[in-house]
């Protein structure tokens, strides 16, 4: 019988202080997330300085809770995995230095994890991967299509050329004076509105899997502006519905096309925007008409957490990848 592998993961790339322990890369043993949303609400967005400050205050508390919840001891832990990037550098630094201190104190191997690899591997906590697989990553900072032919190997086949989908959501939400974070509010309004405004779809050149959302964002801003000048009133619900329809159509169509072209065995949706109900149901509808299985993680695994970092870190650990004690935070780390 082979021994189980337990990896402790740490995630501090934005405004969640998170620690988790995962067994064999597939099973959550404990998963603790301390969110700072309440604190950042005052400022209408994440303030990097304040995020870093919270991480320092929360880190050991969250660590202790994760260990206690797991019922494990340090003896059982095989490795420490930490998000090394991308993200807010000051926030990442707290996690990275914590991980290095733990690895040193307990003499455990240390592995660095790319935040997006974490989002992808959140799905493996639900269902085993079947390669080749296609991952659609949609979050506040990312909109990417990634092809994986094996564990730990990532090929970016499409990415955003300007704004991330989540960024566009945040900006439109601000235009509509919705509270932070705006994405869920747009999703909710969209469900109540009608797609009555024809916003552009950025398909880009033939065959491209890249995305662009800045044109859409400008179109929404112009529409609101012009309507105001003419004294017309647009319903916020309809703006949200029309905006969301444009985003979802492009995301869904490109994902569908790439899935067919690369003949994948699985499609995975990951990142904070994967929690969007409109996007979920459209993807589910479209993929139900194919024989390609679609995996969307449960809501609590879509947003930032450390179980996903531990899951992705388990692969790095098993593949012999190690980080040294000189590991640094890298705000613009590339996924390879």
């Amino acid at each position: 019988m082979t021994k189980d592998t337990f990896v402790l993961g740490i995630e501090t790339s934005c405004d969640e202080t998170a620690v988790a322990i995962v067994k064999n890369g597939t099973e959550i043993v404990s998963n603790v997330v301390a969110s700072q949303i309440e604190s950042h609400k005052r400022f209408g967005g994440v303030v990097p300085e304040i995020a870093s400050r919270h991480h320092v205050e929360q880190m050991t508390i969250v660590l202790e809770e994760a260990i206690q919840e797991s019922g494990l001891t340090w003896e059982d832990i095989d490795a420490i995995a930490v998000t090394e990037g991308p993200g807010l550098v000051g926030a990442l630094l707290v996690g990275v230095n914590t991980a290095k201190a733990l690895a040193f104190a307990k003499q455990k191997p240390l592995v660095g994890v790319h935040h997006i690899a974490g989002h992808i591997y959140a799905n493996r906590l639900e269902q085993e991967f079947e390669f080749p697989l296609l991952a659609l990553i949609v979050s506040g900072g990312h909109t990417e299509l990634i092809l994986m032919k094996e564990h730990g190997a990532y090929e970016v086949i499409g990415e955003t050329r300007d704004d991330a989908a989540g960024e566009a959501y945040d900006k439109v939400a601000r235009m509509l004076k919705l509270p932070y974070p705006g994405g869920p509010h747009i999703d909710r309004l969209a469900a109540e509105g009608k797609e009555s405004i024809d916003f552009p779809r950025a398909w880009l050149e033939e065959g491209s899997y890249d995305f662009s959302f800045s044109g859409l964002k400008s179109a929404v801003i112009n529409k609101i502006h012009n309507a105001k000048q003419r004294g017309e009133t647009l319903k916020d619900e309809d703006i949200a519905a029309s905006f969301q329809a444009s985003v979802i159509e492009v995301l869904t169509e490109k994902t569908l096309r790439a899935a067919k072209e690369y003949n994948v065995n699985q499609v995975i949706v990951a990142g904070g925007v994967a929690a969007n109900k409109g996007l979920r149901s459209e993807l589910e509808d479209k993929f139900a008409q194919t024989d390609i299985p679609l995996l969307v993680p449960p809501l609590k695994l879509c947003t930032d957490n450390a179980a996903m970092i531990a899951a992705a870190g388990t692969i790095n650990f098993e593949q012999g990848k190690r980080a040294g004690s000189d590991l640094n935070a890298n705000a613009s780390l590339l996924l390879k």
Binding site: I50, T60, N97, T98, L102
Partner: protein, 232 residues
């Protein structure tokens, strides 16, 4: 008792290991290089040199600022997590207090400071009395001008200790004249051995509760508080 000390709160990076009150190893650099990359390798190297393993450590002492926000957080994250994992106490010491140790045999006031830009400094006034370091004026983020005027009024001889002395030397001379004592270079660098000495005499902090000694709010927070007060 083995004590590990960590100071990454300002440009100087210092790591020391003490056996009781005797320093058995020290690494100090004063260069503008990344603390996050260099701290842990320095700790590893020093531990190896003095033939210690992490589980032999009995206490960690960390400089908690004021200083660079990032630097302070690197030091605190490292110290707190390590102490927590090893189940040993952690002690946070003000980075200004560490500097004040270099004035151990000075009778008057000691003014350690760090430049905080736009004419501001982080500073407090200390004084040694009967082998004890006392805080005479609380640590603050204030203008150097205001600090100097206060000292002038106090009329005490004052020893200035700061890695940023060059920036304020002229004004100190102008305002305080003969009251100002300005020693040579090495006195202005925080020493991780003294950090250990300061930490030996203090009650340990609550590991979870230990926070940086910021002395100043983040700008966004300060603006927010101001806006709230204006609303009232």
């Amino acid at each position: 008792m083995y004590v590990l000390t960590i100071d990454t709160s300002n440009q100087v990076m210092g790591v020391a290991i003490l056996k009781d009150d005797v320093v058995i190893g020290e690494i100090v650099t004063n260069i503008a290089k990344n603390h996050s990359v260099r701290l842990m390798p320095a700790i590893e190297q020093l531990m190896q040199e003095v033939s210690l393993t992490p589980d032999q450590l009995n206490r960690i002492v960390v400089a908690k600022g004021p200083g660079s926000y990032t630097g302070v957080r690197i030091g605190l994250s490292t110290a707190k997590s390590m102490a927590w994992a090893l189940g040993i106490p952690v002690v946070g010491v003000s980075s200004l207090e560490v500097l004040a140790y270099q004035g151990r045999f000075f009778d008057g006031y000691i003014c350690p400071f760090f430049d905080a830009r736009r004419g501001l400094v982080f500073t407090g006034i200390y004084q040694w009395k009967e082998d004890k370091l006392n805080l005479v004026y609380e640590e603050k983020n204030i203008s150097m001008e205001e600090a100097l005027n206060k000292l002038k009024k106090a009329g005490e001889k004052t020893l200035f200790l700061s890695p940023d002395l060059a920036l304020h030397k002229e004004r100190i001379h102008d305002v305080l004249e003969d009251l100002a004592v300005l020693p040579d270079g090495p006195y202005h660098l925080a020493n991780p051995g003294f950090l250990g000495l300061a930490g030996l005499n203090k009650e340990p902090d609550n590991t979870h509760g230990l926070t940086p000694n910021y002395l100043r709010l983040a700008e966004a927070e300060a603006n927010w508080i101001k806006a709230q007060e204006e609303k009232k």
